[in-house]
């Protein structure tokens, strides 16, 4: 946790505003993520969670506000620079593994893609790395040459995580990584994410509507509603002593969180 106390944030967002017609998807959102910190964004469907993630990762432009990563202006940087960031220091884990994986390419090729995109040109080394990462996400390396379509949903999600982490990013965006999986698989996946995050000292911004997942993973938590952050703070504080009426409602509507 000592890394969390470092002064300079990895990613800073100030006063992000984005409207879809009459609906405010983001309404003056501020956010800081420090190195090695896991931040969860929770809230009901349509509260602007995913939009916030897309704006922070540069996939979408806000109407107003600024995002900076280690002092660089994310919204102002060239697309080339943003793409370079996206394939080296950042990672994005999609809710649906089909969006993040190449389904017709073998598991090894999926993991190797980011390595090859950053200049790896030694087949043997790429294989070795792929095998190492498959082991880390608890997939039998013997299945390296199978296509993800043959994998179960949980395995696909773990493969997507391996593929994202192979270049050792500093900041990973996760959009509902446990969505669509059954409860026991979810638990294993959360365990795995927690272990990897601690091992690698990753900063993670995780969007979820699953309060239990947020409690398990996140150090800090932001509660969103109608595009506004209504409450933020340490996860345990927010969940055990919710201040805002909406947070109280959210926490009380979860069964045994």
């Amino acid at each position: 946790m000592n890394e969390r106390s470092s002064k300079t944030p990895l990613l800073t967002a100030r006063d992000l505003t984005l409207r879809f017609g009459r609906i405010a998807a983001l309404d003056g959102v501020d956010l800081d993520i420090h190195p090695g910190e896991v931040v969860a964004i929770v809230g009901e469907s349509g509260s602007g969670k995913t939009t916030l993630l897309r704006v922070l990762s540069g996939l979408m432009r806000p109407d107003a506000g600024e995002v900076s990563y280690l002092g660089q202006d994310v919204l102002g940087m060239s697309e080339a620079a943003r793409r370079r960031l996206m394939r080296t220091e950042w990672g994005f884990v999609h809710q649906n593994p089909r969006d993040g994986l190449r389904m017709a390419v073998s598991a090894g090729g999926n993991i190797g893609e980011r390595l090859m995109a950053t200049g790896a040109r030694h087949y043997g080394n790429i294989r070795e790395q792929a095998s190492h990462w498959l082991t880390r996400v608890e997939i039998d390396p013997a299945r390296m040459d199978e296509v993800p379509a043959k994998f179960s949903g949980g395995m696909q999600q773990r493969l997507q995580i391996a593929r994202t982490l192979v270049t050792l990013p500093k900041l990973v965006f996760m959009d509902e990584p446990t969505g669509g999986l059954d409860v026991s698989v979810q638990a294993r996946l959360l365990d795995l994410i927690r272990a990897l995050v601690a091992d690698l000292g990753l900063a993670v911004l995780i969007v979820t509507h699953d309060i239990a997942a947020a409690r398990l993973l996140a150090h800090r938590m932001l509660v969103m509603r109608h595009g506004v952050v209504v409450e933020s703070g340490l996860t345990d504080r927010v969940l055990d002593d919710p201040q805002h009426p909406y947070t109280q409602l959210l926490v009380s509507s979860v069964l045994a969180a």
């Binding site: 190449r102 390419v105 090729g109 190797g112 980011r114 995109a117 390296m144 040459d145």
Partner: protein
């Protein structure tokens, strides 16, 4: 020789030729970059060389000598017809000799004889986009070219090795031009790829259906993609030519009867017959 007065010189009207020449100039200025052009309807079907024939028409002058090959052969229907087309519409001289030609239009081969600075090689290209099989969105492939974001192409080669133990792409093998643009060399055999590197002749590529022109200027670096531990290997059948005895040219396998008889002969017919004539003269 004079051309058929019913046609403008080399079939296309002058403003079309000017438009194509502009695209060619741009393509030469940015080696390997695909330049869009207003491809015209030609009196032959797509896939038979509509792109190549338009490029040839745009660069052809009355003093040029044209050679057309299809899979290395001078005497296939397509080659014969395109030569006849330009004899009639441009009144130019045609040849089967690689040495005598100033413009060579080709489908799927590069001649075995080394080309010179005063020659132009025009390729017929069916699919100009090397990333198309991997990334179906054209807007996205454009962006990948713009950013030189070519990791995906190596994923394809990786898959080849993972499945077959070696890079199994034997034709249309992707190349990096001038260290910047990824380019499809048109479906020439990988065996011909090394010939593109630092070639003294100008290489022009025309894709009629896809409406793209690209080029490799003389003496430009053209490198086949590979891995450090799986280097690029030009592949050829491990035989010698039955007719001329050549052991280092690209060979076609020809069935001779219906009981399994087969021979290997040079795919470049001009090169092969030249060697046969030399052998006969020596005897």
């Amino acid at each position: 020789m004079t051309h058929d007065p019913g046609y403008n010189f080399a079939y296309l009207d002058e403003s079309t030729k000017r438009m194509i020449r502009r695209a060619i100039l741009k393509a030469v200025a940015i080696p390997g970059h695909q330049v869009p052009f207003g491809s015209r309807e030609m009196p032959l079907p797509y896939g038979w060389g509509t792109g190549g024939i338009q490029v040839t028409a745009a660069v052809l002058g009355p003093a040029d000598v044209l050679k057309v090959i299809d899979q290395g052969s001078d005497d296939t229907t397509n080659a014969v017809s395109i030569r006849a087309f330009f004899r009639r519409t441009a009144g130019i001289a045609t040849t089967e000799s690689t040495e005598a030609a100033t413009i060579i239009q080709t489908r799927h081969r590069i001649p075995e004889r080394k080309l010179r600075e005063d020659q132009i090689l025009v390729y017929q290209v069916p699919i100009p986009e090397p990333l198309g099989r991997l990334e179906p969105r054209i807007a996205e492939t454009r962006r990948m070219h713009a950013m030189a974001d070519y990791g995906l192409m190596h994923v394809k080669l990786y898959e080849d090795i993972a499945r077959h133990g070696h890079i199994a792409t034997s034709y249309s093998y992707p190349v990096m031009v001038n260290g910047r643009y990824l380019m499809s060399p048109s479906p020439i055999p990988a065996f011909d790829n090394p010939k593109m590197d630092q070639m003294p002749a100008l290489q022009l590529f025309g894709a009629g259906r896809e409406k793209r022109i690209y080029a490799v200027p003389p003496y430009t670096s053209v490198k086949s993609l590979d891995f450090d531990d799986h280097p690029f290997r030009p592949i050829r059948a491990p035989h010698v030519c039955e007719l001329c005895g050549s052991g280092d040219t690209y060979l076609d396998e020809v069935l001779t009867d219906d009981v399994g008889g087969r021979i290997f002969v040079c795919s470049d017919t001009d090169f092969c017959s030249e060697r046969q004539a030399m052998k006969e003269a020596a005897e």
